[in-house]
């Protein structure tokens, strides 16, 4: 006799994760309104950047220049498509590669110091990218910026995917990109690499004495984050169909940090996505109310609330974890304080 056994402990969190994903995937069937879809698309872009930040933070390093990598990706793709007339897809790939190479080269030098020095150097890296973009007029058009085009329509025979006609193709391309990033980062977090990254943050000296080469894994995390942040940047530039030096600066780097931390960096995927979606959409909603300063006030207040109520590197995603453990009556055998 077969008994149908459902492991609720595992199944319910899966359903809780799957339902919003399916609902979001169905959004274009309810509405093809440009404004609604672009909210989702832009939250997805920030979510990828926030995941990158969380991955670097997993190794104990606090990067304050992630928007700089978005800018590198955005400009790479924009220059290749606008100046050289290459296709979007090649520009998009090149964006990730160039951003990854820059992350590797910078990381190999800068990650030797780590800690606060690393944060300050990445902060200046973001500024350097902005200034270079502003000054190299021949390549980047300076402050006027570049105007990258949408990808050419793809004819699949039965249906034509036209990026100019509506935001729906962008929407699904964004979902695909977020999904790929989430799968890669989730797999890193689950596998041995995640444990090794974590050990560097948890106790660098002990990790080194157990044979873990600090630089290798720090640079690895920084480079992987750089690649995906570069992809997000290229996507951003093409979707906005403009990239200027001021679009991706320090404010955006900080925004990425805040999204990641509010969502919760205990998870490499769910936390940053939740944080990015909530904070981006909250910010957009508040800016529509047209009350000066309200957006900064509310978002700042939300950050303070999360930091006060959920300390120790936990964010919104940990609330669910706590709730679910309570529901499932798993004994909490240990309280830290």
């Amino acid at each position: 006799m077969m008994l149908l056994y459902i492991d609720w402990k595992k199944t319910v969190p899966r359903i809780v994760a799957a339902v919003p994903i399916i609902l979001v995937a169905l959004v274009p069937f309810y509405t093809t309104n440009m404004v609604t879809l672009s909210m989702f698309i832009l939250s997805g872009i920030w979510a990828i950047a926030a995941m990158g930040f969380a991955l670097i933070l997993r190794t104990g390093q606090f990067s304050m220049g992630q928007a700089g990598f978005m800018a590198i990706g955005g400009y790479t793709s924009a220059i290749l498509t606008v100046k050289l007339g290459w296709s979007f897809w090649i520009g998009f790939l090149a964006a990730g590669i160039v951003s990854g190479i820059v992350a590797f080269a910078v990381g190999a030098v800068v990650l030797r110091v780590g800690g606060a020095y690393f944060s300050i150097i990445t902060l200046s890296l973001g500024e350097i990218v902005r200034i270079v973009a502003q000054q190299m007029e021949g390549l980047t058009n300076g402050a006027r910026g570049l105007l990258p085009q949408a990808p050419n329509p793809i004819d699949l025979g039965f249906v034509e995917i036209n990026f100019d006609a509506s935001a729906v193709p962008y929407f699904y391309l964004m979902m695909l990109l977020v999904a790929v990033t989430a799968v890669v980062f989730g797999q890193i977090g689950r596998s041995r690499l995640g444990g090794t990254f974590y050990s560097l943050a948890a106790n660098q000296i002990l990790a080194e004495h157990q044979g873990i080469y600090l630089m290798k894994y720090r640079v690895m995390a920084f480079t992987v984050a750089g690649v995906f942040t570069g992809f997000a940047g290229a996507f951003y530039a093409h979707f906005m169909s403009v990239i200027t030096p001021y679009m991706l600066g320090l404010a955006q780097s900080i925004q990425i940090m805040i999204m990641s931390i509010v969502g919760g960096v205990s998870s490499l995927v769910a936390g940053p996505i939740i944080g990015a979606v909530l904070l981006y959409d909250l910010g957009e909603y508040l800016s529509k109310l047209q009350v000066p300063g309200l957006q900064a006030l509310v978002v700042g207040g939300a950050v303070v609330l999360v930091l006060v109520l959920l300390p120790k590197g936990t964010g919104l995603v940990d609330l669910w974890e706590k709730f679910w453990r309570k529901v499932y009556h798993e004994d909490e055998y240990y309280y830290d304080d």
Partner: protein, 254 residues
């Protein structure tokens, strides 16, 4: 060239020589005790051996290969593991997670294989989980497997420190005061385990103040005082030498 040889090691902090001109030969399979009053350079010796400090002068060779000047992770990969004087743990990890992360050197598969979870990686992972559980059983940490390491009592944290060092599968194990803050019973449990580890062919270098532990374990003892090696030999003999007693208790000045 010996098994593990320190040749004229000097480690200076500013004008203070924490170690001055210390030479030492560790033979394979022995349990070497290092004693000396506080500040005599015992921990510095271990820190120099594991690459935490670079020696100011002198060289260290392990099985004919130069150790001094390398990074801690390279030295660990050569088969030298250590414990720390204080309880050094991975923040926020459980006992099992700590020892699994510490087993890094036992993995021969590369990062790509780990990322894609290939057959080879999975098999290797399974073997290593088994080894880690055996290690936890041996060190009486099995009931604490899933508990957060930071919540353990001091004695268990000391044992976890040894488990973490052993997870690297070392040929030489450097123990920095493994029985500090333990009662007699716990200390004797540690002694039993160090004996077991030694019987498995691991060379042990042991810093210890507890004479009972030393006399029980050590096949050779080295005495340090103000960074100088003042005596070397069998534990019973060394402990009765006049300059050793002077170093610990001071000289008679009447």
């Amino acid at each position: 060239m010996g098994f593990l040889a320190l040749n004229n090691i000097t480690k200076a902090f500013g004008k203070l020589d924490a170690l001055s001109d210390v030479s030492l030969d560790v033979k394979e399979g022995e349990v070497l005790g290092i004693v000396g009053p506080n500040g005599s350079g015992k921990s510095t010796l271990i820190n120099v051996l594991t690459g935490y400090y670079r020696p100011t002068k002198g060289s260290i060779h392990f099985r004919g290969k130069k150790v001094s000047g390398r990074r801690p992770d390279q030295i660990a990969a050569m088969g030298i593991a250590r414990t720390f004087q204080s309880n050094v743990l991975f923040a926020g990890a459980s006992v099992l997670e700590s020892v699994m992360v510490a087993s890094y050197l036992q993995y021969k598969t590369n990062s790509w294989q780990a990322f894609f979870e290939t057959r080879a990686y999975k098999d290797e992972h399974e073997t290593i989980v088994g080894r880690v559980l055996d290690l936890l059983k041996m060190l009486d940490l099995f009931n604490e497997t899933f508990l957060p390491a930071e919540g353990l009592s001091h004695g268990y944290q000391r044992m976890l420190g040894i488990a973490i060092a052993l997870a690297a599968n070392p040929k030489v194990l450097l123990l920095d005061e493994p029985t500090t803050g333990m009662n007699h019973q716990e200390a004797m449990f540690v002694v039993e385990n160090i004996k077991k580890i030694s019987e498995q062919g691991v060379t042990v270098v042991l810093i210890e103040h507890n004479m009972k532990v030393l006399l029980n374990l050590a096949t050779k003892v080295v005495v340090l005082n103000f960074g100088n090696k003042i005596a070397e030999g069998k534990p019973e003999e060394v402990m009765n030498q006049k300059d050793v007693i002077d170093a610990y208790l001071g000289t008679e000045t009447i």
